[in-house]
């Protein structure tokens, strides 16, 4: 439905986007996930038409949109600060886009009522926007961008200014509403939990490029690049120093890897503690000593210094094993499936 090709953009001769390609299917929620400065917001603004790309095309249903002005694109956009019009009440805010399209007052009113029902703010029509709580503002902003039935809904960190507990609840609501209305959406965030919760597919952005596009599950299980792995908090990365008998030689030993890879990730998800030294169950085994342990409720996060001086981090269920004390010798094991090639 949406296809963007080769988007570049510079600000003050600094490249912010360096050739971005992305496709979004109808009814899909794609999340642009990246740190601040990665170019994700600029990309969103270019799709919206608020910025012009230096190069590249934005194509909707086969039609190039570059020359179409922002007010003619029929998109919806929701900002982090919601940008509600302070001089208009809830109803006037939501009806704004409808009024711009010349709808009759009664038609406007009908849609506003409908929208308020969808976002769960029935009866809020005459409220002043300054009286609303953060969560309510967010819902009004959503209703405002949904009201004109946009072809594409764009959300720029829509939960960024809310506190964590509220965010968790609203991200579910947001997901349900978008799915119920069958909307195509682009969602910008720096929060991987939020991205995992809402996205059908995630595009990880770094330094003006998309590093990887995949489903949340696939991206977490198989990050492709060192950046993607680190951004998702997967830090057990060991550089490949050489190739021996078709295997990648690293400081932790030799592992099978893609011939072009530059490093391997030992996915913490597959690492377990060895409680019985005699049983050889997994493919690989590493010895070290426990450097720190942090209790997380349902598990511990353990940092283990392997004998070669490299630190690995993984989680261990709080219930399964007795957790060794600090500096105690420790043995880890994992299967070959947990060794991921990184570029």
């Amino acid at each position: 439905m949406l296809k963007i090709t080769g988007i570049t953009r510079q600000f003050d001769r600094k490249p912010v986007l360096r050739g971005v390609d992305l496709e979004v299917a109808a009814g899909e929620i794609v999340c642009l996930l990246g740190a601040s400065g990665s170019g994700k917001t600029t990309l969103l603004r270019i799709i919206a038409g608020l910025e012009r790309p230096d190069q590249g095309e934005i194509i909707i249903d086969g039609r190039v949109m570059n020359a179409i002005a922002v007010h003619d694109r029929d998109f919806g956009l929701m900002f982090q600060d919601f940008a509600l019009f302070p001089h208009k009440n809830v109803e006037q805010n939501i009806a704004f886009g409808l009024r711009m399209r010349g709808l009759s007052t009664s038609a406007q009113h009908k849609i506003v009522t409908e929208m308020l029902e969808i976002v769960g703010l029935k009866g809020f029509e005459k409220r002043d926007v300054s009286e609303l709580s953060g969560g309510e503002k967010q819902r009004v902003a959503l209703a405002r961008s949904l009201a004109p039935q946009p072809r594409l809904l764009m959300l720029d960190e829509p939960l960024g200014s809310l506190d964590a507990s509220l965010r968790e609840r609203l991200v579910m609501d947001l997901h349900d509403i978008i799915k119920r209305l069958g909307l195509t959406a682009i969602y910008v965030t720096h929060d991987q939990q939020e991205a995992f919760a809402i996205a059908d597919r995630i595009a990880i952005m770094n330094a003006g490029l998309i590093e990887q596009v995949d489903t949340p599950q696939a991206i977490y299980a198989m990050p492709r690049t060192m950046f993607a792995a680190q951004f998702l908090g997967l830090n057990n990365i060991v550089p490949i120093v050489n190739w021996v008998d078709g295997q990648a030689k690293t400081a932790l030993g030799n592992f099978p890897a893609d011939r072009t890879a530059q490093a391997i990730l030992i996915h913490p998800h597959g690492v377990t503690l060895v409680d019985d030294e005699k049983k050889q169950l997994a493919d690989y085994r590493l010895r070290g000593s426990l450097k720190s342990r942090i209790f997380l409720g349902d598990s511990y996060r353990l940092k283990v210094e392997i004998d070669m001086g490299i630190e690995l981090v993984f989680k261990s269920s709080a219930m399964d094993h007795p957790i060794p004390v600090i500096n105690a010798p420790i043995t880890l094991q994992f299967y070959v499936e947990s060794v991921i090639s990184l570029w």
Binding site: R52, G76, D81, F85, F96, S145
Partner: protein
């Protein structure tokens, strides 16, 4: 100053407010006492109640007409200025262009230029014998000046726009820059465009700033004095001019002048109250993303930026350049004789002293005013920053709401007899100027003082700073920028002050604006030329002190 303020702190610690009450005492003696005298003269000129002054201004249609003219010329000036400044503010907020910061700094220049200088500048540019008319006459060999603006309303309005354009531009653009651009972008995504964006989003968003700027400009143009006195001729008189005329020209004008002053004080106080109200609700949403100006990209954007920069430059510099040019020309030839003549005092001159002496008078008065106004203003700011004295705030704005002419008028009727006879003392001028400058100092220092979070001095105290160290090392650096801005305001306000000085300046100690006014009213090329030369000098001094402050501000004033 340090020692005095450490004393302030000691006093404050003991709960005493003696020194802090100094500005209140000053206002009582030099503002309220003269005002009371005006009241006395208007209600009881002969000692018993007599409302003849009021009866005369109510029964004579001329005064109603004057009030009407004062009001609608102010309204028209305000609307014109805002209409021009709004698109200008848009360009300045949205776009980056080379020389922008210099242009913005220079745009504030008219604000510190004395009215007499500006009046002289416009007469040099578009007066009957001005640069533009001379050029057009010789170009098309006309025998009459094609632009006949002298003593017209149009000229008055043009000068008012020149004066207030930068005020509107600054207030609106600085407010705008702190507003999130997201609102407008949301509207655009929702299908809003062009004029509708202005109507639906921009104007409502800017409403507080537009109103504040509007009220301020209305206040300034309502009390316009020098501009109308010099450029309006006999046809146009504002209340302010009428007060002056009644006092100076008519034998029995005092009660009328006093009554008119009261009317003016009433209207201005209401406007001032409105202004402070507006200012209170005038806090931009500083949390959200502020606007970042960008380079103009499309041809349309470039054209927009260029045309507005062009307009600003022409509006700003054409009159000032014309003033300089005319001050150096006589019958089409270059000459410096107007300048050299300033140091002479030929027999039969309208002045008692050589004009150059007025320069020293003005500088001396201005320096004294600066010291007085900064001292009192700082004390006032420390007073007003405390919660329990906050209600006194509008009190310190009163002198700004009271026209300079009224102040001068009050001075001459109150301070010329015991208990306080300063009639013959030259100190009267810096005292009056201090009164005019005080609100500017308070307004410059108070926001800086208010913006210091309580946690900062607390942190300093916990770290072991004595009250004196606290003030010297923490508070002073944080407010020093405000102090310097206030001091420069005080200096330039004093240099250019005209209305009050016209009443109280003695013939042997004239100030620069008085000399310019005296010369420009006299017939003859030589007098006119000298007036322009003097105006150039005054403009230079005001411009220099103005540049100094802009330089200091960018160089980080907190260092001293």
């Amino acid at each position: 100053m340090d020692r005095r303020s450490s004393a302030l702190r000691r006093l404050r610690r003991r709960g005493g407010y003696g020194l802090l009450l100094m500005p209140l005492l000053f206002l009582a003696i030099f503002y309220f006492y003269p005002l009371a005298s005006i009241l006395g003269v208007s209600f009881a000129p002969q000692g018993q109640l007599d409302l003849s002054g009021f009866r005369r201004i109510i029964t004579t249609p001329y005064y109603a007409k004057t009030l009407w003219f004062t009001t609608w010329q102010a309204a028209l000036s305000t609307i014109l200025t805002l209409g021009l400044a709004l698109p200008g503010a848009y360009v300045v907020t949205r776009y980056r262009f080379s020389g922008k910061s210099i242009l913005m700094a220079m745009a504030t220049l008219p604000f510190v230029l004395p009215t007499v200088v500006v009046a002289a500048a416009f007469s040099a540019l578009i007066g009957n014998n001005g640069l533009l008319n001379n050029a057009l006459e010789s170009l098309f060999s006309l025998d009459r000046p094609p632009i006949q603006l002298e003593q017209t309303l149009a000229l008055i309005l043009i000068v008012h726009v020149f004066y207030n354009y930068a005020i509107a531009l600054r207030i609106i653009s600085s407010y705008w820059a702190n507003q999130s651009l997201r609102m407008e972008e949301s509207a655009r995504v929702l299908g809003c465009r062009g004029w509708r964006l202005w109507w639906e989003i921009r104007l409502p968003v800017l409403r507080p700033a537009i109103l504040a700027a509007g009220v301020l400009i209305f206040i300034f143009t309502f009390t316009s004095f020098g501009v109308i006195l010099i450029l309006g001729g006999v046809r146009y008189a504002t209340l302010e001019v009428e007060i002056y005329k009644q006092t100076v020209y008519y034998f029995d004008g005092l009660p009328v002048a006093a009554a008119l002053s009261l009317v003016q004080i009433g209207i201005m106080s209401a406007m001032m109250l409105l202004y402070t109200r507006l200012q209170q609700g005038n806090s931009g949403d500083l949390r959200s993303a502020t606007q970042i100006a960008r380079n103009p990209e499309t041809r349309g954007e470039k054209l927009l930026v260029m045309s507005h920069v062009g307009l600003m430059v022409i509006l700003l510099f054409a009159p000032l350049l014309a003033l300089v040019a005319r001050s150096f020309t006589l019958d089409g030839n270059l000459t410096t004789q107007f300048y050299t003549r300033l140091s002479q005092n030929p027999r039969g001159s309208v002045l008692f002293v050589p004009p150059t002496e007025a320069i020293w008078n003005s500088v001396k008065f201005a320096l004294l005013t600066t010291v007085l106004a900064v001292t009192l203003g700082l004390a006032a700011a420390y007073l007003l920053v405390q919660r329990r004295f906050r209600w006194l705030d509008p009190l310190f704005m009163l002198p700004l709401a009271t026209s300079a002419v009224t102040l001068g008028f009050g001075f001459i009727i109150a301070l010329d007899e015991p208990p306080l006879n300063l009639r013959t003392s030259p100190i009267l001028i810096p005292l009056a100027h201090t009164l005019v400058a005080l609100p500017f100092v308070v307004r410059s220092v108070l926001p800086a003082l208010k913006s210091i979070p309580a946690s900062i001095p607390e942190a300093g105290r916990v770290l072991g700073a004595s009250p004196w160290q606290l003030w010297r090392l923490i508070e002073l650096p944080l407010v020093s920028r405000g102090i310097v801005v206030g001091a420069t305001f005080a200096f330039t306000v004093s240099m250019g002050e005209f209305g009050a000085s016209l009443f109280i300046a003695r013939p042997d100690t004239p100030t620069m604006p008085i000399v310019i006014y005296t010369l420009i009213r006299q017939p003859g090329v030589a007098n006119y030329g000298q007036a322009l030369a003097m105006s150039v000098l005054l403009m230079g001094i005001c411009g220099l002190s103005f540049l100094l402050i802009e330089r200091l501000r960018t160089a980080g004033v907190g260092e001293f």
